[in-house]
Amino acid sequence: MRIGVLANCQRLGFADCVAALLPGHEMRVVGIGQLDRTSDLAAIADDLAACDLLFTQNLTAEWLGPLAMARLMPRAARAVVFPSIAFTGFQPDSIVGPEQGLMGVAHSALAMACHAEGLPPDRAVRLFNAFTYGALGYFDQHDISFRFMTREARALGYDFGALIREAPGVFMHTTNHPRIDVLMAVARAAVARAGEPLRQAPLPHDRLEDIALWPVYPEIAARLGVAGGLTFGAGARRFELREMVERSYDTYRQMGDFVRPPAIARARALIRERVLGLPPPGVAIEDVRMAYRMILGRDCESDAVAADHARRYASIAAMREAFLRSAEFRLRHAAAISPPSG
């Protein structure tokens, strides 16, 4: 039998589990993350549709064309849909952005917001605490995420609660990388739905674990009754929170402006209101620092002075005007701005 699998990154573990449950068959595994503009989607769809048994996630993106679930499944002799597992309950600070950083496309919303608001890395590290998590709703994410996944899975005929009962503890390596025992539970349910006999099979190597590990922050872990930590993993490398923040800052400095998910806006609003005492929109501390460099030609003397300026001006324009009218600016550029004599 030829078995096709079409899925996101979870194909890595899922296909291994299917192969363990249904050994001796030819596997054709396609990851949508591997596809690009040059991919021949029609040919891939033909290949998958020709499989004797097809497992596909509920893929609906328009760009997938013939690989979208609604178009591909009717063509297959036997097709079973299975849920993608996304769960933010353990790592609610981890957001997925379009940019590649230290942890691939996963970023800390808090670190990113602290950078955007001009907080030094030390201060950012200290803000990884229970108050921040509580104020950002991180402690509520487990229940919210569980309800979301329960609905999503149920829509496809799966019982999310039953799936994770087989994988106690922290069942996610990152928000979108489940542990291999979760994927085995999903695979067993999918194979059963395909009408294939279930056999006992050892857990395959957890390949998603090799890619990235986002820790469950201790204060969140304590509330969930699971093991927590602050050690991040990217490939074989391990690093602590401070290094994650400092290296993320390096990345963000080089990125310039970029698309920021809503979680960043929430974290920025919290930092502005509760840490900097600033109104939500307006002038960021980083804007003040830049004004010092651009207009006065020097660095701002301290964070406190920068925060004071940020608090004082309602807009960038108001701040620029004040800087251009300042005594320091006039002194520094006296020659350039003096009216010509004679």
């Binding site: 201060r123 803000l127 605490n129 229970a130 108050f131 509580g134 204060e219 304590a222 509760r274 406190a304």
Partner: protein, 348 residues
């Protein structure tokens, strides 16, 4: 002819509840909740709060200690080594400093002997700190312990102590002692402020809102210290200043506790200063509360709030302390003496 008071209970009548045998006066009518040996209890506030801590330990309740060490270095008086918190603003700022929401510019004050002190707990380290690095390292450990206290306590008991405070003009930081009493800041921009009801109610409610973000189920007991001001900075009589201060603190406790079902008011202030006592719970200095007064407060606290029916070993045990034998006057005085008031330093 019946009137609206006719069927009111005895406790609502002065004659039947106050002008009686002093030993029978019990102003606690109904506890909002009770504390079991399983509950982890944290205390903070003015020096009177230290008595509550000692009683809880003695009676085997789960007194929470998140920063343990020798008592002569300020450990064990409270769950963490924060010293006395006289004003509500200090409590609010302790929370905010612990969670990096507020990082005051005043990191260290200098003593006459050159040692550095943490201006927010100037007397916890008898030798002071040799340099800023040592102070910062200890502060980081301390604030982590403060966070653990806020996050893990089941009951938080706070004793309101003072309205008068010393406030930084730079960033609003509030200090437990005036500049120059123990140590001096790098700048002279520190002013006097006498907090009013509205500010303190707002501060306490802000504290509660923040506390519940890290500890949703916490219950709070407010008390008012019966200890008079050691001195006022205002140009008026110490008695008038004390009466004002206690009245304000009492109103704050009332407004906060009435508005919040998880906040109780325990009347230690009334137990000590009530007319029925004839001031016999004060020592000859008319300021220090006698051991008998403390015992009376704690006996009523235990009667109404401590439910020892289910004797379960406390989950977090207290740091080792000297054994206090309440049977002997010496031991009582030793216990009383062990209560550390930063304020005493004012008189030099």
């Amino acid at each position: 002819m019946p009137n609206p008071y006719t069927d009111r209970p005895d406790v609502t009548f002065w004659k039947r509840s106050v002008a009686i045998d002093p030993a029978a006066v019990d102003p606690v009518v109904a506890a909002k909740f009770t504390i079991t040996p399983r509950d982890r209890i944290a205390t903070a506030g003015s020096c009177f709060a230290q008595h509550i801590a000692r009683t809880l330990v003695r009676q085997g309740f789960g007194y929470l200690v998140t920063e343990a060490g020798p008592e002569d270095r300020g450990y064990g008086l409270y769950p963490a080594r924060f010293g006395n918190l006289y004003s509500v603003r200090q409590l609010l700022q302790l929370f905010r400093r612990a969670y990096a929401l507020f990082e005051p510019l005043d990191e260290a004050w200098t003593r006459p002997d050159g040692a550095l002190v943490d201006p927010f707990r100037p007397q916890v380290e008898p030798a002071g700190f040799a340099d800023i690095a040592a102070l910062r390292a200890d502060r980081a450990t301390h604030l982590a312990a403060v966070r653990r206290m806020f996050e893990t306590c089941d009951v938080f008991v706070f004793t309101l102590g003072l309205t008068e405070a010393w406030v930084s003009g730079v960033d609003g930081a509030v200090f437990p002692l005036a500049p120059g009493v123990v140590a001096s800041p790098q700048h002279g921009d520190i002013g006097f402020h006498n907090f009013g009801v509205a500010e303190m109610v707002a501060d306490f409610q802000a504290f509660l809102a923040d506390l519940r973000l890290v500890n949703a189920g916490v219950r709070v007991i407010l008390t008012v210290s019966p200890v008079p001001l050691i001195a006022t900075f205002e140009d008026r009589h110490a008695l008038v200043a004390t009466a004002y201060s206690k009245a304000v603190l009492r109103v704050v406790a009332e407004e906060v506790s009435r508005a919040d079902p998880a906040v109780a008011y325990f009347p230690s202030y009334e137990i000590i200063t009530g007319h029925h006592t004839g001031y016999r719970f004060f020592a000859p200095d008319l300021r220090s509360v006698t051991p008998q007064g403390v015992d009376r407060v704690m006996a009523l606290f235990a009667r109404h709030y401590l439910d020892a029916a289910a004797p379960v070993a406390p989950r977090v045990t207290a740091a080792p302390r000297p054994v206090v034998n309440t049977d002997t006057q010496n031991a009582e005085l030793a216990a009383l003496y062990a209560v550390v008031c930063d304020e005493e330093a004012i008189e030099g």
